[in-house]
Structure formats: C-alpha cells, structure tokens
Symmetry: C2
Subunit: 288 residues, 2 copies
C-alpha cells in the first residue's frame, strides 16, 4: 500500500456568496452578500448516503470527511475517487472494491444532535468509547497569537454572516480554515483534508466560531485533536464528552478572554495580564 496514496478528486469549490438587494429600516435599497446554500448528495458506489446543505466551498473534502467521521470507511486507500458534479448536486465516492462492506457501519440507529438535527450513525459512539487523548501544554500567549491570526479569516462570515468557521491549528499557525452554513460540515471538511493528507491530530488545536455541543466535541475527538477552542458557549454534554475524551476545552475565546472548562492543568499562564479594567466587557454570550 503506497504511503503517498491519494484518491483522485475533482476541484469544484464554488464562490461562497451571492449578491442580492435588501431594503433597510430607512427604506434604502442596499446591495448585500448572502451565503450560498446548496444540496450535496453523497453516494458511495451508487448507494445514496445523505444529502447535506453546504456552502459548496470544499465539496470533495466534505464528502470525504463525512464518510470518515460517520465511521463508514476508515482506510483512505479503499477510496479510488471523489467526483463532484454540481449539475446534479452529487458527490460520488468510488471505492476500489465496491464491496459495500461499509454498509455494516450504517448501523440501525440514527442519532441527531446539536444545533440542527444532525445524523451520527450508531457505531460512531462505540468507536469513541476507548478514546483518551493526551493534551499537550498550551501557552496563554499561543492562544492570544492564534486568536489574532484568526482575524484574517472568516471571509464569508464578515461579508455575509450565516456561516460558521472552523480552523485546524498547529500552535498559533492556522493550517486550514473552512466556513460552511453548517458547523458540522466545516468540521467534516477539515477531517476530510486531514484524512486525505494524513495529517495527525494529536499535536493540533481546533478552533470553531460555533457552539460546543456534543457532536462537535465528538468529531474533534474522532480526529484525535486534544484541544478545542470556541468563540461561543458550550453545553453540558459537550463538556462531559470533553472530560471523557480528555479534550482541553476553551469557550468564549475572543480577544484576551477565554474560559477553560476542562484541562486547566494543560494551560500555561505565561502572560502577565494587567488587572481587568472597569470598562472591560465581561465574558458574555455574544454568539450562540
């Protein structure tokens, strides 16, 4: 099995926003950009798996990551190609064997979670039961530098809103940034890239603008990434899973602020912050 093997991929990423007009409170007609949203149906060897609504930025990586994170296929060398055709909104994943062995991984049960009512095939939870990640030490100064570096991203969000952004980070460096109309899609596209390029997770940090619900933490743990940073809040089950998997969990990470909900011992406080100003905004729920 060649270590450098990669499936053949089309390259059909689309322009993520379109221009439309809206009328504001002054009755002014304004040209606005809004996020695109289109269906993408994923097939494995002619079997229809799911239809995702996506921005369409990285459809091939999304298809790969979805298959990986749902536990349908675990070895990338089984995949011959991923071909996306927007004419028919299809991402066709072709395997070498066409064995349909992946069908066993669909399991009997659909669990839907998080912000929407997403699907996680039943076997994923089982696969995750034995995960215990080892978080590296993370410096406060690295967090601040990373948050600063992230300001250069979020392009679609800045122009159109209605998307969430996710980043795969090595220390303060952003290796990969993906936005999508679905948080889970953005995570899946990054998982697709990691799978494709054989990028290990254990020395990485994952950032998301979105909330840390159970499914987000599960997906990050599946990618073996031991540290998770969110601009938004967390839920009780997101926290519980982070504790179970050993994921260091930062929420409300923005500017100089953050809250560590799990893994405080993995954080090195190397920045001598001045005492908080009376004018300092409190940590607050600025984005669900």
């Amino acid at each position: 099995m060649p270590s450098k093997f990669r499936p053949e991929l089309t390259d059909t990423g689309l322009d993520p926003t379109i221009a439309v007009t809206a009328v504001d409170e002054y009755q002014n007609v304004r040209e606005m950009h809004i996020a695109d949203e289109r269906p993408l149906t994923i097939y494995i060897d002619r079997h229809e798996i799911v239809t995702l609504m996506t921005l369409g930025n990285f459809p091939e990586l999304l298809a790969l990551g979805y298959i990986k994170n749902q536990g349908l296929i675990s070895d990338i060398t089984e995949i011959k190609s991923v071909q996306v055709e927007w004419d028919v909104n299809a991402a066709v994943v072709t395997t070498f064997s066409e064995s349909s062995a992946w069908k066993e991984n669909l399991g009997p049960r659909i669990i839907t979670t998080g912000c929407g009512q997403g699907t996680v095939f039943g076997n994923v939870l089982e696969q995750l039961q034995n995960i215990h990640l080892q978080s590296p030490l993370i410096k406060q100064s690295t967090i601040y530098q990373l948050l600063k570096n992230l300001n250069a991203y979020n392009d679609v969000y800045k122009s159109a809103g209605a998307v969430h952004g996710c980043a795969l980070c090595s220390s303060a460096e952003i290796l990969c940034f993906v936005e999508d109309v679905g948080r889970h899609n953005a995570v899946d596209a990054i998982a697709g890239r990691m799978w494709l390029e054989d990028i290990p997770g254990q020395d990485k940090l994952f950032y998301t603008t979105g909330r840390l619900t159970s499914e987000m933490v599960m997906k990050v743990a599946q990618m073996r990434i031991p540290a998770l940073l969110s601009r938004s809040g967390i839920t009780q089950m997101g926290l519980k899973l982070a504790q179970d998997f050993g994921v260091t969990l930062f929420s409300r990470a923005k500017g100089r602020h953050f809250l560590i909900y799990h893994g405080r011992d993995n954080v090195v406080f190397d920045v001598g912050l001045p005492a908080p100003l009376a004018s300092d905004p409190p940590v607050k729920a600025d984005m669900a």
Copy 2:
C-alpha cells in the same frame, strides 16, 4: 371528532442550565451556567423514529412538532398521548389506531440541512410545493415594539449561551418563546404547541435568533406563518424558499435595524427615523 380534542401529555420540562466552574484568563475560578443537552428518542407506537439532542425544556411539544413538521402524522386527533420519561430519554407517542400508516411518510430519502446535518423526510418537500402564503401588512413600529418585547426573553441564552430562541408572535405580542440547543428543535416545539392548541399561523409572525437557512424557512412555511424575522443572517436557499412560499423575510433585526430580503411591499414604514448618526453601528453579522 371533538374540536377540543387534545392528546394526553406528561409535563416533564427540565431546568435548562446547570452550574459548573471554569477558569478564566486571570486564572480565576468562576461559577458559570451552561446549557443542558440530553438525548430524547422519539417513538411512535414502539417504532423508533429519531433521537434529538435537546435542552429538555418542552420535550412533549418537541416530539409533537417533530412528527408534524416531518409530515409523519398530520391529524392530531390520531394521537392518544405523548409520554416522556427522562429515565430512559424517551418520548413515546401513542396513536389510537396503531396503524403504522405514518410509515409511508418516512419516504426513502433523508435530507440533512442547515446548521447541523438535520433530517427532513423526503415527502415534506412535496407537501410544501403548493404553499403560497399571503403576508399581512406589517408596521415598522410593530417590529420595533416586538424587538423590545423580546428583550424580556432569551433567559437561557443570557445565562448560558449555546442556545437559540424562537418566538411565535401575534403583532408585537409574544405568544410562546422556546429556546433549545438546536434551532430546529425550538421551531419544532413551537409547531407542537400550535398543533396541540390549534393555533393558526396565517396571522402570526415568527422570530428566531438563529440563521435563516433553507430548513428554517421550510418549517415556518409548514406552519403557514407568512412573516419571518431573524436576528441573524440568511442564506441564498433560505431566501429562495421565502420567495417561493411568499414569506416576508427580515434579517439582522435588532434594536432599530433590520433588512427586508423579501416582501418589502408588505411592510409599512410608519416610523419617522432620524437620519442615521455617524456613530450608528452598521448592520453587521453579529451572530451567525
């Protein structure tokens, strides 16, 4: 068939937040509240339908609304009872006939959309094809009063974040406000209440803190509500569906600001706004 018929419901709404500690950037340990998130598996007559992750505030209404919005059962008098037992995280919907006729409505196809990767059973789209709603005239002053009235809500969001809120409104009056970890759950719970209490949609207005993706607009159209107001942004497909169904669409509604993306002719500009101040914040993407 008695017009006042209602299924028998348990009343098992839970406290939506729990207290946990977190460590902030000053190494201070702070007591925070986070949103609860727990699985709820919906059964119809012993058939497992889906597992949703929910805040657990209105589980009976969520189960009802999910069944209604997925097009599984359309007549509430077919439903004998909805019983939620948190011991086993189950919402058991019992029908009178136990005919399993609803199974035909499951359809062959699962479409997953929006923020997460939610499921919409295939037949829903068909059912919606002939919907053309008639929006009433909506006054700008009513919008402002409604936005003001909404400030009294969003309790969970204010204390814990990580949830979205949805409201069913009659003019500026808020009839029902639901928060959930999933936007779609909050919409479904409101749909459940409308179904249960036979509340018509055509003279109502729907508010959400969440983004207007395709699935949100579809659900509001299913409830026959002709006007949709969001604090957040919209996607291209959310806009397209609003145009198709005739839903008047406001986005970025906050304070005095809003943007009308569809149905401008249904809005009466009855507020003489002063010219915008230079210090006025622009309409911006403050919440995905």
